[in-house]
C-alpha cells in the first residue's frame, strides 16, 4: 500500500528528473544505480548488495582503478583529497588521461555539492583528486570518466558515510 503511494509520488518528483539528467551527464554508468530506483526507493535504504570496494573495474573493462581516500572512514562535510590509481586491464599504470569526476546520492536525487577535479597526475598511475565533499550521511556514488590512449570508459565507486 505504502509502496504504491510512494511510487506515484516519486515518479513525478523533480528529484527523479534531476537524477536522470545528471545520469546522462555522468555517462551510462550511473544508469544501473538509477534504474534500481523506483520513486519509493528514494530516501529509503540502499539496495542490500551495494559493493563498497575501493578497487573496481570500469564499465567495459578497459580500466582497473583504486581510490585512496585520506583515511579509512570518509569524513562528512569537509573537503577531501583522494588519490585515484589507474591501470589498464593488463596492469599498465595510466598516467596520461583526461579524467572527469562526478557523482551524487542516487536515493536523494542530487549530485555532488562541489565540483571536484583531478588536479594533477602524481606518476605511477596515480592522480590527485581534489575538491570532493560529502555533505550528508548515506550512500554516495563517485564516478570517473576516463579518456586515454587505452580508450574511454567509466568507473563507479560506491561510498558509504
Amino acid at each position: 500500500m505504502r509502496n504504491v503511494a510512494c511510487t506515484i509520488a516519486g515518479s513525478k518528483s523533480p528529484a527523479v528528473r534531476i537524477n536522470r539528467r545528471r545520469s546522462t551527464q555522468l555517462g551510462t554508468m550511473m544508469l544501473p544505480a538509477v534504474g534500481l530506483l523506483t520513486g519509493c526507493m528514494l530516501f529509503t535504504r540502499p539496495p542490500a548488495d551495494i559493493d563498497y570496494a575501493r578497487t573496481r573495474s570500469s564499465a567495459s573493462g578497459v580500466y582497473h582503478a583504486t581510490i585512496h581516500p585520506d583515511g579509512d572512514s570518509i569524513p562528512q562535510g569537509r573537503l577531501q583529497r583522494w588519490t585515484l590509481h589507474l591501470e589498464t586491464a593488463d596492469g599498465t599504470p595510466v598516467d596520461r588521461a583526461r579524467i572527469e569526476v562526478g557523482g551524487g546520492m542516487p536515493q536523494h536525487g542530487h549530485g555532488l555539492p562541489t565540483r571536484p577535479r583531478v588536479t594533477r597526475p602524481l606518476g605511477a598511475g596515480n592522480h590527485l583528486v581534489e575538491g570532493l565533499k560529502f555533505n550528508m550521511g548515506g550512500w554516495w556514488v563517485v564516478t570517473f570518466r576516463v579518456e586515454s590512449a587505452a580508450g574511454t570508459d567509466s568507473l563507479v565507486f560506491n561510498v558509504k558515510l
Binding site: R21, H108, G111, R115, P116, G131
Partner: protein
C-alpha cells in the same frame, strides 16, 4: 476514498502506541541501563552523537584572516560590532540587526537598517564553522561578509573613507597596535567609496589607485577585526545535547536531560522518516550547503532572488574573496572557492541550510521570513510545495497532526545558552 479505514488504522495505531509507551516506560524502570540501547539502535546512536555539541570539532582556522585568533583584534572587533557611528546615519551598528539578547538576529521577516533589506537577518553564533556566509553564500569568510552590510545602501549605508576617518580619530591606537600604521588622510574626502550612491562613487574614482588600495586595506582590516570577534560566539549544550549524553552513557535522565514521549518521537522522526537530518546534520544541525526547499516568495514585492545561483558568482568575483589581494591565504588555502559548484539548476533558489540550534527562540523563519512559526515550518516540510523557481529537493512527508507536533516539540529541545563575549564592550 475509503475514509473509515485510515481512521480505524489510526485508532489501532494510537492504542498500539499507548501500549508501546507503557511497555517502554515500565521496561525502562525495570531494566535501567539497557533502556537506551533498546530505544536507539547502534546506527541511530552514532547519528545522535554526531548531532551533539560534543561532536563539534575545534574552530576551523581561517587562513584568509591572519588576525582571526588575535585577541586584540577580537577586542577591537567587538567595539566595532556595537558602534553605531559605522553608518551613514549614526544609528546603525551590526548589533542593530544582530542583537545579542535576541540570538544575534532581530525577529523580523526582513531586516531594517538605513533602509529595508530583502532578506532575513541570520543569527551569528557558530558561523565561523561555515565556509560560506549569507543565505546565498556570497561571501567566503566572516571578514568578507562583514564588508557587505557596511557598504550596503540599506544596511549601514557608510563608505570606505568615512570608516577610515573614524578609525583614525577614535580607534587609531588599537588599530595600529594590530595592523600597523594607518595610511595618510590628507586630501581624502569625508565620504568616498565604491558604493551605489553616485556622489561618493565619483569621489572614490578621483582617488589615486594606490591610495584606494591603502584605504581598502583598512576597510578589509575592519572586517578581519569584526570576524575575530564573531568567531568567539558559540553555543552551550541544549536539553537535546544533555538527553543524548545521558542516553549514550546509559544514565537515567535527570530533570535537565529528560525528554517527553513527544520530544523523543519528534527526534525519531527528525533522524528517520522526516529526513530532516539529511540536511540539518552535524553538531550545528547544518550541512553548510545550499538547497532549494521550495520556500515561497515573500508577501511583499522584492527583486527576483535566485539564491545560490547568483551568490556563488558574487563570491568568486568579490575583491575580498579568499583568493583576492586583501586575503592572507596561500594559493592552496582557498579550496572551497576553487571547487565550488558554479552552475546548474540545483543552485536556483538554493539557500544555505540554517543551523537549528536555538531555532525556537528566533521566529520568523526562512531567508525572507516567509514562514511565521515552527508549526508552519513543519507543515511546509509535510506538504513540500513546488518551488517558485528551480526544483525543490523535498518530497511530501504527509505527516499526521501528531507527528507534526512531535517534530515541533523536538525542535524546541534544541535551545541552549550562547557563549562568548555577548554583551557590548564596557565603557561605551
Amino acid at each position: 476514498m475509503n475514509r473509515s479505514r485510515p481512521l480505524r488504522q489510526r485508532h489501532l495505531f494510537l492504542s498500539l502506541l499507548g501500549l508501546l509507551t507503557f511497555l517502554a516506560s515500565s521496561g525502562a524502570a525495570v531494566r535501567g541501563r539497557s533502556a537506551s540501547t533498546d530505544r536507539w539502535s547502534e546506527q541511530e546512536r552514532a547519528l545522535l552523537r554526531s548531532l551533539t555539541l560534543s561532536s563539534l570539532g575545534p574552530l576551523p582556522a581561517d587562513p584568509s584572516n591572519r588576525y582571526a585568533d588575535d585577541s586584540l583584534a577580537a577586542r577591537l572587533g567587538r567595539r566595532l560590532f556595537f558602534d553605531e557611528r559605522l553608518s551613514s546615519t549614526g544609528t546603525v551598528s551590526c548589533a542593530s540587526c544582530h542583537m545579542p539578547d535576541r540570538q544575534f538576529q532581530d525577529d523580523r521577516a526582513l531586516a531594517h537598517g538605513v533602509g529595508l533589506t530583502s532578506r532575513r537577518t541570520m543569527p551569528i553564533a557558530g558561523t565561523a564553522y561555515s565556509p560560506w556566509q549569507f543565505w546565498d553564500g556570497r561571501a567566503d569568510s566572516q571578514w568578507a561578509q562583514a564588508l557587505g552590510p557596511l557598504e550596503s545602501a540599506v544596511e549601514h549605508g557608510g563608505d570606505r573613507t568615512q570608516y577610515l576617518h573614524l578609525i583614525a580619530s577614535d580607534y587609531r591606537r588599537e588599530y595600529e597596535l594590530i595592523f600597523g600604521r594607518l595610511p595618510r588622510l590628507d586630501g581624502l574626502p569625508a565620504h568616498a567609496g565604491p558604493v551605489a550612491d553616485s556622489v561618493r562613487a565619483v569621489a572614490w574614482r578621483r582617488i589615486a589607485p594606490v591610495r584606494q588600495e591603502d584605504i581598502t586595506r583598512v576597510y578589509a582590516n575592519i572586517g578581519k577585526a569584526i570576524a575575530a570577534y564573531e568567531r568567539r560566539l558559540g553555543f552551550a549544550p541544549s536539553r537535546f545535547d544533555q538527553y543524548v549524553a545521558a542516553e549514550l552513557a546509559g544514565e537515567r535522565p535527570t530533570a535537565a536531560s529528560a525528554f517527553s514521549a513527544d520530544e523523543e518521537a519528534g527526534l525519531r522522526l527528525f533522524i528517520g522518516k522526516a529526513r530532516c537530518a539529511n540536511c540539518h546534520n552535524g553538531a550545528l544541525l547544518t550541512d553548510n550547503s545550499f538547497h532549494n526547499t521550495g520556500v515561497g516568495l515573500p508577501g511583499v514585492a522584492l527583486p527576483p532572488d535566485r539564491g545560490r545561483a547568483t551568490g556563488v558568482r558574487q563570491a568568486l568575483a568579490s575583491e575580498f574573496a579568499c583568493t583576492g589581494r586583501y586575503s592572507d591565504a596561500g594559493p592552496d588555502d582557498c579550496a572551497e572557492l576553487r571547487f565550488a559548484t558554479v552552475d546548474g539548476e540545483e543552485l536556483v533558489r538554493a539557500y544555505k541550510t540554517p543551523s537549528l540550534r536555538n531555532v525556537a527562540e528566533r521566529a520568523p523563519y526562512m531567508h525572507a521570513g516567509q514562514i511565521a512559526t515552527l508549526e508552519d515550518v513543519v507543515d511546509h516540510y509535510s506538504r513540500a510545495p513546488e518551488a517558485p523557481a528551480g526544483h525543490s529537493e523535498l518530497q511530501p512527508l504527509r505527516l499526521t497532526t501528531m507527528e507534526r507536533s512531535q517534530l515541533v516539540a523536538f525542535l524546541r529541545t534544541l535551545s541552549g545558552p550562547l557563549v562568548g563575549p555577548l554583551a557590548p564592550p564596557a565603557g561605551r
